[in-house]
């Protein structure tokens, strides 16, 4: 199954800064204050939303701050397996992005455990683009499902969880407004990408992705790209047929590096995108920062190759 060999490891993000920030995120809500509930977001962006909805009522842990793990590479340690097996609530991405998590859950059946599989939640086919959190409709649905699951586990705090969902939805409003504004001003902006990471954000912003999808898939899966596709991407950059190159910071190889250099030489602005929560960001501020970087690139021709230190609060 092609989806199961998806994506290789991210890597650069395993920086001390990120480890610290995730540790802060976890310790901020974990411990006795968690009221005995442990919730796990397999990917760090789901852990972020989990902790925003659960507030003080659950200890939240992110397993993969580097979720883009090749199943050949990722080896769940016994402690990770124990943590997942004993959690009350687990949010996994699905779409072949974290198949090992499903295997651990199946190996440790627990009728009371709540599992949210985002692929199933959204009703997506297994071949869909796995980077669903870039779609503006995804996280509100996840937040509601998280609140429903938490309410089943702790019915007494149901009203609190529902209120947190409303707060979360409201905090996404600036991003949605910015998306609408971008679409009004720059509809149909031609862009090139290296991987389908932020494709759903680009589509929501009304951009037209000119990179062949087969090239995006080949880079994402670490396969031999077709030379026709490589030539097409190079032509997009060399002949200035795109206004931005959207570049996945977490998966690079000699080919993507050559695209990056060609974009720089051709004076095409570059926007770096990520597959996990960058250091110092919450989900909302991360998405706003990516959109702001895109806006900068399109209207001023300015590159944002890496996101700066995040502002923090949602």
């Amino acid at each position: 199954m092609i989806q199961s060999i998806i994506c290789n490891m991210p890597r650069r993000l395993l920086s001390p800064a990120l480890v610290l920030s995730v540790a802060a995120l976890i310790s901020g809500c974990a411990g006795p204050a968690g009221g005995g509930l442990t919730a796990i977001g397999i990917e760090s962006q789901y852990a972020d939303v989990l902790s925003q909805i659960a507030g003080p009522y659950a200890g939240v842990r992110a397993i993969e701050t580097n979720p883009n793990t090749d199943p050949h590479e990722f080896e769940a340690t016994p402690s990770v397996a124990r943590a997942i097996a004993s959690a009350s609530l687990v949010v996994e991405n699905g779409l072949g992005y974290d198949p090992w998590a499903g295997r651990i859950l199946a190996a440790a059946p627990n009728a009371r455990r709540q599992v949210i599989n985002v692929q199933r939640l959204l009703g997506l086919p297994v071949t869909a683009n796995p980077h669903v959190w870039y779609n503006p409709r995804t996280m509100p649905a996840v937040a509601s499902a998280v609140a429903a699951a938490l309410s089943r586990l702790r019915p007494a705090h149901s009203a609190y969880f529902q209120a947190q969902v409303r707060r979360f939805d409201a905090s996404l409003e600036p991003w949605r407004r910015a998306l609408a504004a971008f679409k009004r001003r720059h509809a149909g902006t031609p862009v090139a990408v290296t991987e389908p990471v932020a494709d759903e954000l680009l589509e929501a912003a009304g951009c037209t992705i000119l990179t062949p999808y087969s090239l995006q898939i080949a880079i994402m899966n670490g396969l031999d790209p077709a030379p026709q596709d490589v030539a097409a991407e190079e032509a997009l950059l060399r002949e200035h047929r795109v206004k931005v190159l959207v570049y996945n910071r977490q998966v690079t190889n000699p080919l993507t590096t050559s695209f990056l250099e060609l974009a720089r030489r051709s004076g095409i602005p570059v926007v770096g995108v990520y597959e996990t929560l960058p250091a110092g960001y919450h989900y909302q501020s991360w998405m706003q920062a990516e959109l702001a970087a895109l806006e900068h690139a399109v209207s001023r021709g300015a590159s944002t190759e890496t996101l700066g230190p995040g502002a923090g609060h949602p």
């Binding site: 890597r11 030379p227 190889n253």
Partner: protein, 293 residues
């Protein structure tokens, strides 16, 4: 539309990844075929395969360190070839054992380096590129180095051609005639390392055996003289490599929008040539069957 365009589609030769693949692929095919004839004659096919597998540790180390993969393959292959010649195990069974153990160690180290490279180096696709080749992602900057490596290997074989031929046919006879068998063996081993590194760059470490052994084995099935065997091996290897690149390029149009790996097509063409060579040997009066695919 010219009839040629049905076979060589427009844009094929103007495509930079294709041009790099054609040049580096031809160099790898020619050197592998020439060295391969001697390797097969010397009964060192398994050693040639093991050398390629061990060199994958160098290729994956290059990914981890961010240096040219050709240099990585080259360094480890040359070290391993030198060690294998130096050990000079005479007994064939023991040689296979030692070779097999080295092969295991090499691939084990490759597994570790690929893991580290994937976690730390932010690289993607290293495993496929190192083990199975990724011809259309070879950077054009590697071309001068590849041509240089191919040239050195061919010159080395040319310089020791006669003693190498003699010692490959019969080591005892060569010794009796006063040839420096050990030095010849060492030069052959180093040329083998160069051939294997080039082949690993193109079709990957695991499949480089196909380029090394396949054309030579096919040629030796029917060619009656060493010179002719060399010429046929070069023709088969070269044709299979360029044919494979062309088919991979064309496959973009008959597969659902992606194209199949070059390595598959090259190895398939070599295998077909090997089968045809067998037919040619059985019925030597039908010269039409002697043509390589």
């Amino acid at each position: 539309m010219y009839p040629l365009e049905l076979i060589v589609p427009p844009g094929f030769l103007a495509n930079e990844p294709v041009r790099t693949a054609l040049i580096v692929g031809a160099g790898a095919a020619i050197v592998s075929a020439v060295v391969g004839v001697f390797t097969v004659m010397r009964g060192q096919s398994f050693a040639g395969h093991a050398l390629a597998d061990v060199s994958s540790a160098g290729g994956s180390a290059a990914f981890l360190l961010g240096i040219s993969p050709l240099l990585g393959f080259l360094g480890v292959a040359a070290l391993a070839a030198g060690a294998m010649e130096w050990a000079d195990v005479r007994d064939a069974r023991e040689r296979d054992l030692v070779t097999g153990v080295m092969l295991g160690v090499g691939l084990g180290v490759t597994a570790l380096l690929l893991y580290l490279g994937t976690i730390q180096g932010s690289t993607s696709g290293a495993a496929i590129a190192v083990l199975f080749g990724s011809m259309f992602t070879i950077p054009a900057s590697i071309v001068p180095l590849a041509i240089g490596v191919a040239g050195v290997a061919l010159v080395a074989i040319a310089v020791i051609y006669r003693p190498l031929l003699l010692s490959s046919l019969s080591a005892d006879l060569a010794q009796a005639r006063g040839a420096r068998v050990r030095r010849t063996g060492l030069v052959h081993a180093l040329a083998l390392a160069l051939a294997v590194s080039l082949a690993a760059m193109t079709v990957g470490a695991i499949l480089s055996t196909a380029l090394l052994i396949g054309p030579a084995a096919a040629a030796l099935r029917f060619a009656d003289r060493p010179g002719r065997a060399l010429a046929w091996a070069v023709a088969i290897g070269w044709a299979a490599t360029w044919g494979g690149i062309l088919l991979a390029y064309d496959s973009f149009y008959w597969t659902p929008g992606h194209g199949w790996p070059v390595s598959f097509f090259i190895v398939a063409l070599i295998f077909i040539a090997y089968l045809l060579a067998g037919l040619a040997r059985w019925r030597p009066r039908q010269p039409a069957l002697r043509r390589p695919a």
